[in-house]
Symmetry: C2
Subunit: 483 residues, 2 copies
C-alpha cells in the first residue's frame, strides 16, 4: 500500500475535525458526491437506499393519518410567489429562474419551486367548494431548489429531495391540531426509525417559516454539539388562503377562508443520521433504515473449505430472505478488509461464517455499535438476528440520548452561557422572556440561536428572570449553534 492510498484509508478524528470526518465519511461510504453543477449533489445508490427506507417508513406513517400523495409542477410563475408578502421576501434571494423555454424568452419568468405553498394554494382554491371537501390532506415527494451560497452534502445543497405536506381545514383549531399531529409523526419517526432523540417545540418569531403563523420543529443534537433541525410543521393560518382565495361554503351558508398547514422533512435527515450515530470507524446506521442490516463475510483459507462455506452462506441467505436485508460480500478482498469496509459503511451487524462455524452449524454475529460478539446456531438465526437488530436500534437511541443529556447545559448566567457556547457547545437551556431583539443580540454575540421553545416546560410555569434581559421569564428556551 503506498502512502497516498494509506492516507485515503484513514478517517479524520471526530474530535479533531468533525466536518472533515463528515465529508470523508459521506464520500468514502459512497453516500453522495458533489455534482458538476454548483451546490448540487448526486445521491449515490448506498445513500439513496437510506432515503428509500426513510421514505417507506415515513410515508406509511403519513398514510395512517389519512394523508394521500400527489404531484404538483416544478415551476412556479413569479406572480404566484408575490401573492404572500413574507413568503416571497423569505425565498426571493434563493430562487433559480427559468427564463427561456422551447427556444423562446418566456413572458413571465418561472421559479424552480423552493417549496410549493403557492402553486398548491392555487389548486386548492379550485378544488375546495364546500365544507364537505375539507380537510384536504396531501403530501408530495419531490425535488426543490434553494440557491445556497455555502453547501455541504445532505445538510445544505442547492437542490435537495424532501416531502412537503399541505393541508387545508375548516377551522383554525383543526389546522393547529394537524400541525401538531404531523410534528408528532416526525418525532415518532425520527426517534423510533432513525434512533435519533429530538426535542419538540415551537420556533420563535425570528426563526419561523416565511409566511407561517406558527412553526414547530424537532431538533436533534449532532456529535459535535451543534443542533440540526430534523423536521418542521407550520400552521399557516389564513395567510395563504387569503393570498390564493381558498374559500369554502360552510354549513352555516357563509363563505369562509380555509386554514392551511405545511410540513416537511428532507435528505438533510441523512446528514443527521451520519452525525448522530457515526464514530471513529465511520458510519453507524440504525437497522430500520440501513440499506443492508447485516453483511455476511464468508471466511476460508484452504480452497477445499470454500465450497462448504459458500454452500452454508447460500442456505442462510435463503433462510433470511424477506426477513433481514442481507448483503453477502463475495468480493476478492480479504476478510479483514471487508470487516473494515462494512464497519466504515455502518452495517449494524456483521455475520462471519468460517469452516468451523459450518461444522458447528452456527455463525458469529458482531454488532457494529459496541463490537459485541455472539455465536448463534443457524437454527436460531431467524429469531435471534431480527431481535439483535432491534437491540442495536434501541441501543443507538439510548447512546444518543445519553450524549444529548450530557451535552445539555442549564445556566442563569449569560457569561456562563457564552463560555458554554464557545467551549462546550451542546444545548443550553435557559429562562427566557421571548424578546426578539434580545434573541437577535445573542445570535450576533455568540452565533447561537433559539432552536426551540420546548413543549416540555416546568410544571406550574417558569420562575425567575430572562438570562439576557433580566425581565420576568415566560418560558424556557433551548439555544445552540446549529447547522
Amino acid at each position: 500500500m503506498d502512502k497516498e492510498e494509506k492516507y485515503v484509508d484513514e478517517i479524520a478524528d471526530q474530535d479533531d475535525n468533525f466536518s472533515k470526518w463528515y465529508n470523508q465519511i459521506v464520500r468514502k461510504a459512497e453516500l453522495a458526491d458533489y455534482a458538476p453543477v454548483r451546490g448540487c449533489m448526486i445521491i449515490r445508490p448506498y445513500g439513496y437506499a437510506i432515503w428509500e427506507n426513510l421514505q417507506s417508513h415515513l410515508d406509511a406513517r403519513f398514510k395512517e393519518t389519512g394523508v394521500v400523495n400527489a404531484y404538483f409542477p416544478l415551476l412556479i410563475p413569479r406572480s404566484f410567489l408575490e401573492k404572500e408578502a413574507e413568503h416571497v421576501e423569505g425565498f426571493a434571494p434563493e430562487l433559480a429562474w427559468v427564463t427561456r423555454g422551447g427556444g423562446e424568452e418566456l413572458e413571465e419568468p418561472l421559479a424552480i419551486r423552493p417549496t410549493s405553498e403557492t402553486i398548491i394554494g392555487h389548486s386548492y382554491a379550485r378544488w375546495v367548494q364546500s365544507y364537505r371537501d375539507l380537510p384536504l390532506l396531501i403530501n408530495q415527494w419531490n425535488n426543490v431548489m434553494r440557491w445556497e451560497k455555502r453547501t455541504t452534502l445532505f445538510l445544505r445543497t442547492a437542490e435537495f429531495l424532501w416531502q412537503e405536506g399541505h393541508t387545508a381545514h375548516r377551522t383554525m383549531e383543526e389546522a393547529e391540531e394537524r400541525t401538531r399531529m404531523m410534528l408528532e409523526v416526525y418525532r415518532a419517526f425520527v426517534e423510533e426509525d432513525a434512533a435519533m432523540p429530538v426535542i419538540a417545540g415551537r420556533k420563535t418569531e425570528n426563526e419561523k417559516f416565511a409566511g407561517a403563523v406558527r412553526t414547530y420543529s424537532i431538533e436533534a443534537l449532532m456529535g459535535d454539539g451543534k443542533a440540526l433541525q430534523a423536521g418542521t410543521s407550520h400552521n399557516l393560518g389564513q395567510n395563504f388562503a387569503k393570498g390564493f382565495d381558498i374559500q369554502f361554503l360552510d354549513a352555516d351558508g357563509q363563505r369562509k377562508y380555509c386554514s392551511t398547514t405545511s410540513w416537511g422533512m428532507s435528505t438533510r435527515m441523512i446528514g443527521g443520521i451520519i452525525m448522530v450515530h457515526g464514530d471513529s470507524s465511520g458510519l453507524i446506521l440504525p437497522p430500520r433504515l440501513a440499506p443492508y442490516q447485516t453483511v455476511v463475510v464468508p471466511i476460508w483459507r484452504k480452497e477445499a473449505d470454500k465450497s462448504t462455506v459458500l454452500a452454508q452462506v447460500e442456505r442462510i441467505e435463503k433462510l433470511l430472505k424477506r426477513k433481514v436485508r442481507l448483503k453477502v460480500d463475495l468480493s476478492e478482498n480479504t476478510p479483514g478488509w471487508k470487516f473494515n469496509e462494512w464497519e466504515m459503511r455502518g452495517v449494524p451487524v456483521r455475520m462471519e461464517i468460517g469452516p468451523r462455524d459450518v461444522q458447528n452449524n452456527s455463525v458469529v454475529l458482531v454488532r457494529r455499535d459496541n463490537r459485541a460478539k455472539e455465536v448463534v446456531p443457524v437454527d436460531a438465526l431467524e429469531t435471534r438476528l431480527p431481535e439483535l437488530l432491534e437491540e442495536v436500534q434501541k441501543a443507538l437511541f439510548q447512546r444518543a440520548l445519553e450524549f444529548r443529556e450530557k451535552n445539555t447545559h442549564y445556566t442563569d448566567s449569560y457569561e456562563e452561557f457564552k463560555r458554554i457556547i464557545a467551549e462546550e457547545r451542546g444545548f443550553v437551556r435557559v429562562k427566557w422572556a421571548e424578546d426578539s431583539a434580545a434573541e437577535q443580540a445573542i445570535k450576533e454575540e455568540t452565533k447561537a440561536t433559539i432552536r426551540v421553545i420546548p413543549f416540555d416546560q416546568p410544571a406550574g410555569g417558569v420562575q425567575g428572570k430572562c438570562i439576557y434581559t433580566g425581565k420576568p421569564a415566560t418560558c424556557e428556551a433551548i439555544f445552540a449553534r446549529s447547522y
Copy 2:
C-alpha cells in the same frame, strides 16, 4: 339536477370523440389537472396512487435484475449537452433554461434535464476505473422537462415523471443483452401488471433515440386505433462513453470505452391504461395498479338497518386488511350515485352490502369490466375476492388482446394501406425493405409511422416485396398513427 350539472355528468361517446372522452375521464375521475404553468400537469391523488402502484411493481422488477436507485441533479450545464452531437440536436428545441440563480446571471445556462445521459455519463467517468467496477446498473425515479408545443394530460406534458435507467458495461454484447433484458422487464410489467398487450421490437433509424445505436420499444394499441409507445430501451454503444470519457482498465491491461444503455417509462403509461381499458362508463383500472381494488357500498333504507350494515362493513374491512385495497364509501350520496361514480373511476370490483346480505352473511360482488354479479359468503371472501381480482386482471388483458388482433391489418397494397390508416386505423403489418426515405414519404402521405419492427418475424425470413418501394422485403414492419 340543473342542466349544467347534467351535462357535466355525461361522458362523451368514445366512438364519436375519443379525445374528448379521454379528457373528460381524466378530469372527472380526478386523475390530473392542467397546471397554471403552460403544458404542465398536476397529478391528483387518485392518479398519483396509480403511479405509486406502477412504481412499486416496476421497481421490484428492476431490483430483481440487480438494478439499484440513485439521484442525479435536475440541472445540466449547456456544455454537457453539447458533448454528444445527435443528442443535443434531438433535444435542443425542447429545453427549458435556468439563466438566473441567487440573484445573479449564471455564467453558463443550465438546462432542466430532458433526460440524464449526459450528467450521468459525467459521473460514470469518475466512478469507473477498472473492469471490476462494471457493470453499473443504476435507475432514477424523477421529473424531466421537454417544452412541448401541444400537450395532453399524461400523454404529452412539458414536465412529466418517469424512471430512467442507465447502465455501463464492459462489452457491446453485454450492453445489448441488458438493453433487451430491460425491454423484456417492461413487456412483462405492462402485460402482467397493466393488462395491456404490447408488441416488442426495434425502432427504425428515423425513430430511434437521439444518440442511440439502437432503440427497442414496446407498442400498445389504444381504444381509438392509435398506437402508444409504452416503454423504450436504448443501446447507446460507445457514443456517450466517448463523449464523457467513460473508460476502464480491462483485465488485459488495455484502457477501453464502456458501452452504455438507457431505458425509460413514464406517467404516459397512465394515459395508456385509460385508453386501452376504458369504456363508455369511464375508467376501468387493472386490479394490480388500481388505487382501490374494491369499493364497498353499504345499503340501507331504514335507519334501523344502518348500524347492522355498518357493523358488517367494519368486520369485512378488518377481514380484508392488507389483502385487498378497499375503499368504503360512507358518503351521504345514494347507492345509485356511488355505483356510477366508482364505475366511472374504474374500481375493478364493487361490493354491495345491504340488510339482507347481512342476514345471509354474504355480499354481492359486481365486476366493473363485464358487470357480472356474484353472491359470496363472507367466510369465502378472503379467498374469492383476490381470485376474482386476478380474473378481472386476466380478462382485461384478454379483451385488449382481442381488440388489438381485430384491429391489426395485413396488406401488400399501398392503396389499401392508405385506406386502412384513413378509415380504420389500428396496426398495419406490411413487408418492408428498411428504407428511411420511403418511411419518411409514407409519414408525410398518411401520418402513419413505423411503430416497431417486431422481434416476432416469419420463420425462414420474409418473402416478397416492400409495400412502398417494391424492393425485396427484409422484414415485416408495423405502421400506425400514434400518440
